[in-house]
């Protein structure tokens, strides 16, 4: 331990640049992993807590197919009361407009107070003051009035809403004036969802949410909770077609599965940061082993065992890791805040809305951070530590064995690289595992490691190449000679830079291609002139409808030539009951006015025309891939009348959701699921109409009790791309950080090399080299390394992007992305890398000139 402090810790403190870089790299790696985990956990947790709250003491629930449970069927379900108490529920999202004009989403629970009383605890402020709970009659009296709503104390307090004052509820396009008749105490369920909960009478909720005649589900509280398995089985057999019994937790699992691919990819992305951390640890330990060979040899000569030497260097890595983990944890928590915001804009998370908060850090997280960082660091240090242990005592005196060793490395590294590339290729041809691109990402990882393994071979090649460097004059020649002499010292830091540059290139190509594809898709698909929605964002979610009045008013505008109504509901599909989106559109209007980018068949229009009114559907590409469905197949969809077969007539491109969409004509939908109000409208205007002017007129005509969002075609396109860019912003940020760290890593290595060469440099100065020449020489060294890294990183990045686009993306989202090289971006980044690495060379260059200033050649 004393030796560890003297030999390792002091050396770390002495070689500060490299140590700092490594710690920063590890901190970042840990931070990103922790952040993504916290963010993922918070979104799932957000859902689970919301579920708990709403589920209350519910043991089982009856749900319908997509549209819910028809109220008429409730009467035939009287026998359910043999098993337990029964309570019908409406469960939706609305917005509350606070007195200050801001709007906040709340989960609205519409309940039959008299029946619901045993299910949930309602502790109201009003009665708590008297020290008691409300009696059902009192609650009933409170809620019976259709303008009554109960909010939570916490929510009201936050937005300065007073008891018995009016608030506005925004539901779909309607603005509903309500009065706050009660405030739920800030305890229990109301607290867990951060207070974003509202209660109202079920009849009022049905009316406001366009759900007359429908229930979202029927909850059952069993008399004997022990018998839940039996009861579930018994109820299942007695239920009529179209209804299912399930446990509340099942909804949670569905959502979890829905998010699985997204979370998986985020997690994988976070491991990229770790890979960079791994290389940095390798780099730090390897450089210290290489530069301290003589010292290690001395230790060995004085009687230090191989085991002790190995432990010293593994300890170095572990120490760095612990510091990294300690710093990474709080940094990760901060990052998670940002990531949560990202997740909630990216995923169509039905019930999460804003209930997702980042959980506080606990001991478990520290454990996780260490569990991630320490093995990683030890893995990174394994090879250099083994090398350290292999140093013979002779190394204290002679350098010979190093040069003997070096010779085989390039050839072996090239062979290893080929092996890794080959294995990567093989992995990339494997199928997804449970909908997750495990092998695809494995392939990407192998390619990354392959690129790293290739570096020593390439540096060796650089050593042999002579000519081009002459362009840089004498300094260039010297720089080249210096680099050539330090191949093994440089290999690792260059490899780290290559890896991060390759990943940046891959990311840029993938995102650029994706953006292009989406742009094209938007251009082809968005043919309407005006798009009407009920919220400014998240066009998908629990269906919020547009009222008949609004629809009539819009259709009546003289400039509106046609109107395409679209509605959607969530539907469970397949043996795993995956949540898919069932949509309904006006196929006739769509056919006439355009706007569907078909993958198959080529003559999709004819197919769609045949689908009008028939039991036929078009499905999105992601649905087709995930559920292995092709044109002409028959799929079974749940309907209120039970499962029904539908023929797939076309597969179309869609990038709006990775959940998979099944779309049918409105008339077909109405026949099976009953008439539903649309959730969105597309307006096609007369040829000479000005969309902007019409939009203004339509908005102006809305009146105080309606609120709409209308976008012009151009605005919607811009919005789609804006969301797209925002989604990938964090990706770029991560990459930028990784590259920054990698470049500093190269600079730090150059510092070490410079320090090592001080005598040589001083001699150069004595031979008459100017300060400027020395500086130029070091800067050129740095720039050469940068260019070499980019030279390897770019092609590897292209390969990586191919894997991301054609394997990972298809396996996890089921999207076709057209490959496209963003040449401009790549050229720019290349230039930027050249400049930054050269700039990074300034620091070691300064050290080099300073050293030669203050020290002569005499120093031993």
């Amino acid at each position: 331990m004393t030796l560890f402090r003297q030999f390792i810790v002091r050396a770390l403190l002495r070689d500060r640049p490299r140590t700092v870089v490594t710690v920063v790299g590890l901190t970042l790696g840990v931070a990103v992993v922790v952040a993504i985990r916290l963010a993922n956990a918070s979104s799932i947790r957000g859902f689970e807590t919301a579920l708990d709250v709403v589920a209350g003491k519910t043991s089982l629930e009856i749900v319908g197919a997509g549209v819910g449970v028809p109220e008429t069927q409730l009467r035939d379900l009287g026998w359910l009361r043999d098993y337990g108490r029964v309570s019908p529920v409406i469960d939706r999202i609305a917005r509350v407009r606070a007195p200050d004009g801001t709007e906040h989403p709340v989960r609205v629970l519409g309940v039959d107070v008299l029946r619901d009383r045993p299910f949930r605890e309602y502790r109201l402020l009003r009665f708590a003051r008297d020290g008691r709970d409300p009696r059902p009659q009192e609650l009933l009296a409170l809620l019976l009035d259709p303008t009554s709503v109960v909010l939570t104390q916490r929510f009201a307090g936050r937005h300065a809403i007073e008891l018995d004052t009016p608030v506005q509820l925004i539901i779909g396009d309607r603005v509903h004036g309500a009065v706050v008749r009660g405030l739920l105490l800030d305890e229990g369920p109301a607290r867990v969802v951060d207070g974003q909960l509202a209660l109202m009478d079920i009849a009022t909720a049905q009316l406001l949410f366009d759900r007359l005649g429908w229930l979202d589900r029927v909850e059952i509280q069993l008399f004997d909770a022990e018998t839940i398995d039996d009861a579930e089985g018994a109820i299942a057999t007695r239920l009529p077609d179209g209804l299912r019994v399930q446990r509340p937790a099942q909804r949670g699992r569905q959502v979890e599965r829905m998010l699985a691919a997204f979370h998986f990819n985020l997690t994988a992305l976070s491991y990229i940061a770790l890979v960079v951390g791994l290389f940095l640890v390798y780099n730090t330990v390897a450089v210290s082993v290489i530069t301290r060979r003589r010292e290690i040899g001395t230790l060995r000569a004085l009687g230090a065992t191989r085991r002790l030497v190995r432990r010293l260097f593994l300890g170095e890595a572990a120490l760095l890791a612990m510091v990294g983990a300690g710093l990474g944890l709080p940094a990760g928590w901060l990052l998670a805040q940002a990531a949560v915001r990202l997740t909630s804009t990216t995923v169509n998370v039905l019930y999460i809305t804003s209930a997702a908060t980042v959980p506080a850090l606990g001991a478990g997280d520290l454990l996780l951070a260490c569990a991630v960082a320490i093995p990683l660091a030890l893995a990174g240090a394994a090879i250099p530590s083994a090398e350290a242990a292999g140093v013979t005592p002779i190394a204290a005196v002679r350098d010979v064995d190093r040069f003997v060793r070096d010779r085989g490395v390039p050839r072996r590294s090239a062979a290893l690289a080929m092996l890794l590339f080959g294995a990567g290729w093989w992995l990339s041809t494997r199928e997804a595992v449970g909908g997750l691109p495990v092998f695809g990402l494995g392939a990407a990882l192998l390619v990354v490691f392959g690129a790293a393994a290739l570096v020593p071979a390439l540096l060796d090649l650089l050593r042999r190449v002579r000519l081009p460097w002459r362009w840089f004059g004498l300094e260039g020649l010297l720089a080249h000679a210096n680099l050539s002499a330090s191949v093994s010292r440089l290999a690792v830091s260059v490899a780290a830079l290559v890896v991060s540059l390759a990943m940046l290139a891959a990311m840029a190509i993938m995102v650029g291609s994706f953006r292009d594809t989406v742009g094209y898709w938007v251009g082809q698909t968005l043919q309407g002139d005006l798009f009407v929605a009920t919220a400014d964002r998240a066009p998908l979610g629990p269906a919020v409808t547009i009222s008949a009045a609004t629809e009539r008013r819009l259709a009546a505008h003289p400039a509106v030539a046609a109107l395409d109504r679209f509605s959607h509901v969530d539907l469970s599909y397949g043996p795993d009951r995956d949540l898919i989106i069932l949509g309904a559109g006006d196929f006739e209007v769509r056919l006439e006015h355009g706007g569907l980018l078909l993958k198959t068949p080529t003559d999709g229009r004819a197919a769609m025309r045949r689908a009008v009114g028939a039991d036929a559907v078009v499905v999105s590409e992601s649905f087709a891939i995930k559920h292995d469905v092709a044109v002409a197949d028959r799929i079974e969809l749940d309907t209120p009348q039970g499962a029904r077969p539908f023929q797939v007539v076309a597969v179309y491109y869609d990038y709006s959701s990775d959940r998979g969409l099944v779309v049918m004509d409105r008339t077909t939908f109405a026949r099976h699921y009953g008439a539903q109000r649309p959730t969105g409208l597309t307006l096609y205007l007369a040829p000479d109409a000005d969309p902007e002017a019409v939009r203004e007129e339509l908005l102006a005509g809305a009146g105080p009790d309606h609120r709409l969002f209308i976008r012009t075609n151009a605005a919607l396109r811009a919005e789609v791309l804006r969301i797209f860019d925002a989604t990938f912003a964090i990706t770029y940020a991560l990459e930028a950080i990784a590259i920054f760290v990698a470049i500093i890593g190269v600079a730090a290595t150059l510092v070490t090399l410079t320090l090592e060469r001080r005598r040589e440099l001083a001699m150069l100065r004595q031979l008459g080299a100017g300060r400027g020449q020395i500086r130029r020489m070091v800067v050129i060294e740095a720039a050469m390394l940068g260019m070499l890294s980019q030279g390897v990183g770019l092609p590897v990045g292209v390969v990586l992007s191919l894997i991301l686009i054609y394997v990972v993306n298809v396996q996890s989202f089921g999207w076709t992305i057209q490959f496209h090289l963003p040449l401009g971006f790549l050229a720019q980044s290349t230039l930027l890398i050249a400049v930054t690495t050269a700039l990074a060379g300034l620091y070691p260059a300064r050290i080099a000139t300073r050293l030669t200033e203050t020290e002569g050649t005499s120093e031993g």
């Binding site: 030999f7 009687g303 065992t305 005592p393 002779i394």
Partner: protein
């Protein structure tokens, strides 16, 4: 029993074109408390011989015994243990660890042998004083002169009371005056502790300080003509 006994040592480096026979059958004996100097022109194999005798390297052929223990029979671990306990080294380039102070450098062999840091420090101070470095204990190697470094190295080599001290051109990298002081220290300590010394040098003056001289050329011992 002699402290060091070597018989018919051979050491071959490399193979094929780059094959070098550094030692071609050298035998020697160093009795307990004896001071043997090895002299010979550059490249004759002095360093190689010393490495073999100190257990830093292995002979291609021949046998070596330190304190009666045959080195050829030891595995790496045992050989390391032998270096740690029975042998002290002084190198031409001092080989102090730059991140350790002189005192810590001197205490290093004790630390490696598992002696507590406190006791190690105390004994290191004592050792440093004996080589005239009592005032340099907290300095790092970069902060002191070459002669002082080498005296510290001598102190380090003897701190754990080895049976055999191996010194490879200990003054080769010093000016005459510093070299003399190092030699003085070495001789004094040799006398006081009774450690057997095996020292390689170019310098006739230094060889003159030894009890006995072994002359080498091209990897073999040559008779003391001249």
């Amino acid at each position: 029993m002699p402290t060091l006994q070597a018989h018919d040592l051979h050491r071959v480096y490399g193979s094929g074109d780059s094959r070098v026979e550094a030692l071609r059958g050298v035998s020697l004996t160093v009795a307990g408390g004896e001071f043997l100097a090895v002299v010979g022109p550059s490249g004759c194999g002095k360093t190689t011989l010393l490495h073999l005798c100190g257990g830093m390297d292995r002979a291609t052929a021949g046998t070596i015994a330190v304190d009666g223990v045959a080195l050829g029979d030891l595995d790496d671990e045992a050989l390391t243990g032998l270096r740690r306990e029975r042998v002290g080294f002084v190198f031409q380039f001092f080989n102090l660890l730059p991140t350790l102070t002189l005192a810590e450098n001197i205490a290093l062999p004790l630390l490696l042998a598992g002696v507590s840091p406190a006791e190690g420090t105390a004994r290191a101070r004592e050792g440093a004083e004996r080589v005239g470095l009592g005032h340099r204990l907290a300095h790092f190697p970069a902060q002191v002169s070459g002669g002082e470094l080498q005296r510290a190295a001598v102190a380090r080599a003897l701190i754990h009371k080895p049976a055999l001290l191996i010194a490879d051109e200990p003054t080769g990298n010093l000016d005459t005056e510093s070299g003399q002081r190092v030699l003085e220290v070495l001789r004094t300590l040799h006398r006081e502790t009774g450690v057997a010394v095996l020292l390689a040098t170019h310098d006739a003056l230094i060889a003159g300080a030894a009890d006995r001289v072994l002359r080498m050329r091209d990897g073999v011992e040559v008779p003391a003509t001249l």
